[in-house]
Amino acid sequence: MSRINLIVVLMAAFFCVYVQTAFQGLRNILHAQFDLLPALMAYVALSADLVAVAALAIVGGVLFDTLSANPLGVSILPLFFIGVFLQLRHDLILRDMAYAQFIVGCCVSASMPLLTLAGLWALGERPIVGLETLWQWLVMALIGGLAAPCFFQLFDRLELALNYSTAPAYNESMARRDREIKRGRGY
């Protein structure tokens, strides 16, 4: 991932947190708030190195906690752990398949609230948890799953648009047999 693309991803994290705070349409309809940061982290973890994962975890986590009543810093570690886990397993994930992106998005969006709640309980906080939380968890997982392929599409295209594409290196398979000049005995 290029530096420009990383900056764009960090700006997207800022925008995601702002949208989650300021726009309540979906929240009022579904009675649950979605979280787009885990899906964004899935893209970064499968497209960039650990430095980018750390940058998104710090920037996204701090921005989220700033507008939330959470203690500052509590969202950094869950985001980071998700990113590191995906980064370590990125060879096993079919990154370019939309269904794989959806499943990864669902999984990370479902794990994020669990890890954050564990962090809050460990810090002695009392988050509001009840039966409604199950529904909210389901909505978060589904919307995160749907957002992941969109992020992959968007940022992959952006990556192509913002960077020079390198010419493919020559290899043996590129030579076409039907274009080979056959030289006979007389030549």
Binding site: A22, Q24, A54, I76, L77, R126, L131
Partner: protein
């Protein structure tokens, strides 16, 4: 497994998270306010967009409808002015009687209108953001009300906006009383977790109380945050606990906390 910059990134993230989490609450709030200034432009843009939408709505509303609304509002204004005069007479009489009995004088509520500009981005907090801050004279723990009743209290104040913790959040406990009997209790989140967004628990009511569904619940004025007499909600279910020693109840809030657009800050 990792290269050197990657180990540094892991170390930096863990150390930064550790430092932020170990900061005292006051420092954390200061840091939040400072970082939160990056959202000023976004919230300003949202406010401008709302104002433009309101203007557009007025522009497309037929003059006939606007004229009818104006007439209705003028009529309501006249009626409220009359009620205000009557209330003034009653208040003066109340003050005289209090003075005669040597009772403490009641302070009048001074209110400031605020717009709700956001909600907590997480699902496990009942917190909203309003567009009034220290610049407008808002301080921590000021009560927040809507036309229907109590909303919550200010939990954190920035220069241009404040965070309000809503009734039903574990960080907002309210001293309350039953209007008909005057018995006091505490409104808080249910002991077993969230009861629902518009239902809260009324706990620590005396066991011999005649608490019943339909009773109105008001703030009791016991404590230092909420003044007496703000409507909170209506009892929908009551039960006896601890072999008859105490009672608790479920209270349906008067205010729909999911649809808040404007609220009042009680500034005195």
């Amino acid at each position: 497994m990792f290269k050197k910059p990657q180990y540094l990134a892991i170390l930096l993230t863990l150390v930064l998270a550790g430092i932020l989490l170990s900061l005292p609450a006051r420092r954390k709030n200061q840091l939040k306010r400072w970082i939160g200034t990056v959202f000023v432009v976004g919230f300003g843009a949202s406010r401008a967009a709302d104002a433009a939408a309101d203007k557009a709505r007025v522009a497309v509303t037929p003059r006939k409808v606007l004229g009818k609304q104006l007439a209705d509002l003028q009529e309501e204004n006249q009626r409220l002015r009359l009620q205000l005069k009557q209330a003034g007479v009653i208040a003066r009489e109340n003050d005289r009687l209090r003075a005669a009995l040597n009772w403490k004088k009641q302070t009048r509520w001074e209110v400031s209108l605020a717009r709700v500009i956001g909600r907590d981005p997480s699902n496990w907090r009942q917190v909203i953001l309003i567009d009034r801050g220290a610049r407008d004279g808002v301080t921590e723990n000021m009560p927040i009300v809507a036309n229907e009743g109590l909303v919550g209290r200010v939990s954190s104040v920035g220069m241009t906006r404040s965070q309000v913790v809503l009734i039903g959040d574990p960080k907002c406990k309210v001293g309350a009383m039953i209007e008909s009997t005057g018995e006091a209790g505490v409104v808080e989140t249910g002991k077993s977790g969230a009861l629902g967004r518009d239902i809260v628990a009324l706990n620590y009511i005396a066991g011999d109380s005649e608490l019943k569904p339909g009773d109105r619940v008001l703030t009791s004025g016991l404590g230092t945050v909420f003044p007496k007499g703000i409507p909170v909600g209506t009892v929908i279910h009551a039960r006896t606990l601890d072999y008859g020693l105490t009672k608790d109840a479920r209270v349906k809030l008067h205010v729909n906390l999911n649809r808040l657009e404007h609220v009042w800050v009680l500034t005195n």
